[in-house]
């Protein structure tokens, strides 16, 4: 039977979700750089990465209850980001759109506090890395970006890329060689 007193007591309790925005902010602070960087290098354009990063964290916010804790929060965010980027890329390809990159937007993707020379050099390095990654297969590109994050284990990368850890190791070896070969050509 419905107990009005109990119901009132439940209503009187402080809302358990009250701190959620702070905790979400902490999650964002802890992982936003890695998610933004992944989307930046997968999508190739800062403003698209900005949109994608926003969408990834918003999805995470909405899907709290889907997260079972069987992966780290970062791996979970990567999963959302990878799927989101794959969907975006497929959508662009299906529409056969060729995006014109506004070179000025790259200026916002490098450390603003650094000296102009350093920014220029970092930008150049970033451009070369982007060009190199764009010349690799989707799988190699993703593997290299994930393995660069030292917080991810090979097992987590294997789950994220839907293959065994041994397969990841083997492909990474070839991906690194391919990257190095392409990178030299960008000099």
């Amino acid at each position: 039977m419905d107990d009005p007193i109990q119901r009132e007591t439940e209503r009187a309790e402080p809302p358990v979700l009250e701190l959620a925005p702070d905790e979400f902010a902490e999650l964002y602070r802890a992982h936003s750089r890695e998610i933004f960087y992944l989307t930046l290098r997968l999508l190739g354009e800062p403003h698209k990465a900005e949109d994608a990063s926003h969408d990834v964290f918003l999805k995470a916010y909405k899907k709290w209850d889907d997260f079972r804790g069987d992966a780290s929060p970062r791996a979970w965010l990567y999963r959302i980001a990878i799927n989101h980027c794959i969907n975006l890329r497929q959508s662009w390809h299906s529409r056969n759109l060729v995006s014109g990159v506004d070179e000025s937007v790259w200026d916002n993707a490098t450390a603003k506090a650094d000296s102009p020379l350093r920014v220029l050099e970092i930008k150049e390095l970033g451009d070369r890395i982007q060009t190199t990654l764009d010349n690799l297969s989707d799988e190699y590109r993703l593997l290299l970006l994930l393995v660069a994050d030292e917080e991810l284990s090979y097992d987590e990368i294997a789950v994220l890329t839907r293959q065994t850890a041994d397969a990841v190791r083997g492909k990474l070896h070839r991906a690194r060689k391919a990257f190095a070969a392409h990178f030299d050509k960008t000099a």
Binding site: S53, K62, W64, S115, I122, L125, A148
Partner: protein, 74 residues
């Protein structure tokens, strides 16, 4: 004044040297290079601002799992 000029020049040289270091440095591996690139990448503050607006208009999420990672009460 001369001393200051000399010091300033030395400082400038040191800063230039430091500034050149990232591009001049050799990376031990592809992973290290990408890691360095990632570390230099600044997340645009606009994302957090947009996210704040977006989440403000969303109902608060279930925080059950959230507690496990942030040490709150279950």
């Amino acid at each position: 004044m001369k001393q200051r000029t000399k010091l300033s020049q030395e400082q400038q040289n040191a800063e230039t040297q430091q500034a050149r270091q990232p591009a001049g440095r050799e990376f031990a591996s592809v992973d290290e290079m990408i890691r360095f690139d990632a570390a230099q990448t600044v997340v645009p503050p606009e994302i957090a601002q947009r996210l704040k607006k977006s989440t403000d208009s969303e109902p608060l999420p279930d925080r059950t799992w959230w507690r496990r990672f942030f040490g709150g009460n279950p």
